[in-house]
């Protein structure tokens, strides 16, 4: 069994709590990005769905998520294979029964995970922007927060089999970002593209620009602030970092995001003649996602290199998925969180300071688990959900906009931005 996390000193506990208080800013930022990169006629629906997703994720994690995930050194179920015990699922009581809420390591892990699962729940919303029904998104979030996320997080952070083989993820590059990004891919496939995105005659897909670039770019600052807290708290609770090492965590997180944003700006300027605001924002967030796994282990130069590659990957894969994969992902969630997160996990293996081959193999096993287990599980659960509770809004609702169709009022009643949105036909 993996040894339990060491008890933190009082000052370290206060520092972790302070870091955790910053994480909701990342949630707010992601919600604003989802709204800003969607259509104006679905803006308030996007924000309300984000609020509901956070609420449902918190409730599902409280009821059964933490019981499935557990923590290193806590109760868990094991199976014996090849003469060794493999820890595969947590066995904590439901409803957090018996967990001391006193600032101990398990209680701080609970708080961090509650916020992390809410962050993971916001990621698929971006892929379903403008066409995902509120009730279906909430039900899908319950599946993610109650089963998919906790199971994988147990394997990585709860002393599970991935931790046993040496897989490392200090602050959620795999557990939060990649799980959220791959769930976003499953949702984008199940929902299908927005109407008008792909022509019946084939050819290039239509560009459907986001309605508010200011929201999106401002949200990048919020997400950055929240990410500093997320990575710092994760590094202390899961990476065993002393408070002084948070200097490296903050520096690496910032360098990765900054270089990713610059890389996205340079590439879009070279390709299109001017920097693209939404792709630069995506690059910035992709750099943050890539920083999570190795924020504690990387040398600052490696963090910067990881950011450059993440920014380039985001720019090219957003276009590739859109044009060749015919995957309509309005906010680029799959590229930003899925591919960015997976790249960060791989980079940790490639740039490990010692035992590089063994570490790289462990990291690849983690990535293989994400693609070979988490993606099929998320896809199957959402496909089943779609049979009982149709996830996509009716064509009339999509034309009218989700604000009017599902909420009965638009986000911007004083401004008629697209006159045809409000015409009766």
């Amino acid at each position: 069994m993996t040894p339990p996390a060491p008890a933190l000193s009082e000052s370290a506990t206060v520092l972790v709590l302070a870091c955790l208080l910053a994480v909701p800013l990342a949630l707010a930022g992601l919600a604003l990005i989802n709204a800003g990169l969607g259509r104006s006629r679905s803006a308030s629906h996007a924000l309300l769905t984000a609020l509901c997703a956070v609420s449902v994720a918190a409730a599902a994690y409280f009821v059964c998520g933490f019981a499935v995930q557990g923590f290193a050194g806590g109760a868990a179920r094991t199976i014996t294979a090849a003469g060794r015990q493999w820890n595969w699922i947590g066995a904590q009581p439901l409803f957090l029964r018996g967990l001391p809420l006193d600032g101990s390591s398990p209680s701080l892990i609970l708080l961090l995970q509650l916020l992390s699962v809410a962050l993971a729940a916001l990621i698929p919303l971006g892929a379903g922007t403008d066409r995902w029904r509120l009730s279906a998104a909430s039900a899908s979030t319950a599946l993610l927060a109650g089963l998919v996320y906790p199971l994988f997080a147990h394997w990585v952070w709860g002393g599970g089999w991935l931790a046993q083989i040496g897989f490392c993820d200090a602050a959620g590059g795999a557990t939060v970002q990649a799980v959220g990004g791959l769930t976003a891919l499953a949702i984008a496939w199940i929902l299908g593209p927005r109407r008008g995105k792909y022509s019946s005659e084939g050819g290039m897909p239509a560009a459907i620009p986001g309605h508010n670039a200011v929201l999106v770019l401002f949200a990048c600052f919020l997400v950055w602030t929240g990410w500093l807290g997320l990575n710092s708290a994760g590094a202390m609770l899961f990476g065993g970092a002393a408070p002084g090492l948070l200097v490296r965590v903050v520096l690496n997180t910032t360098l990765s995001a900054a270089l990713a944003g610059l890389a996205a700006a340079a590439i879009t300027r070279a390709r299109f003649g001017r920097p693209d605001a939404s792709l630069c924002a995506n690059g910035w967030i992709g750099g943050l996602a890539a920083s999570s796994a190795g924020c504690l282990a990387f040398h600052p130069a490696v963090a910067a290199l990881t950011g450059v590659v993440a920014g380039a990957l985001v720019v090219f894969t957003v276009e590739w998925l859109d044009v060749y994969g015919e995957i309509d992902d309005p906010t680029g969630s799959i590229s930003v969180h899925g591919i960015g997160g997976i790249w960060g996990v791989l980079a940790l293996g490639l740039f490990a300071r010692s035992g590089a081959a063994v570490q790289a193999l462990s990291q690849i096993a983690g990535i293989a688990t994400l693609i070979g287990f988490v993606l099929p599980l998320a896809y199957s659960l959402n496909w089943l959900l779609d049979r009982f509770l149709p996830q996509r809004v009716a064509p009339e609702g999509e034309r009218q906009g989700l604000d009017l169709h599902e909420l009965g009022a638009g986000a911007y009643p004083e401004f008629v931005i697209h006159r045809e949105d409000f015409l009766q036909r």
Binding site: W86, G325, A365, L375, P376
Partner: protein, 59 residues
């Protein structure tokens, strides 16, 4: 095609899992992990292709 893609993804993961459970030497383990990852990539391509072809048929 969709089911085949999902099955290939799960099969590739099972090979990677088996490599870590049953093999202790780094060399053979690396070969098995590479094989499992290759099968997963095939499954992912098949799954992606199945969604594109559904839309092509609808055109």
């Amino acid at each position: 095609m969709r089911l085949a893609g999902l099955l290939l993804l799960a099969s590739g993961w099972a090979i990677v899992l088996a490599a870590f459970v049953m093999l202790s030497a780094v060399g053979p383990r690396t070969v098995f992990v590479a094989a499992g990852a290759a099968i997963e990539i095939l499954g992912l391509a098949l799954l992606a292709r199945s969604h594109v072809s559904v839309r092509e048929a609808a055109r």
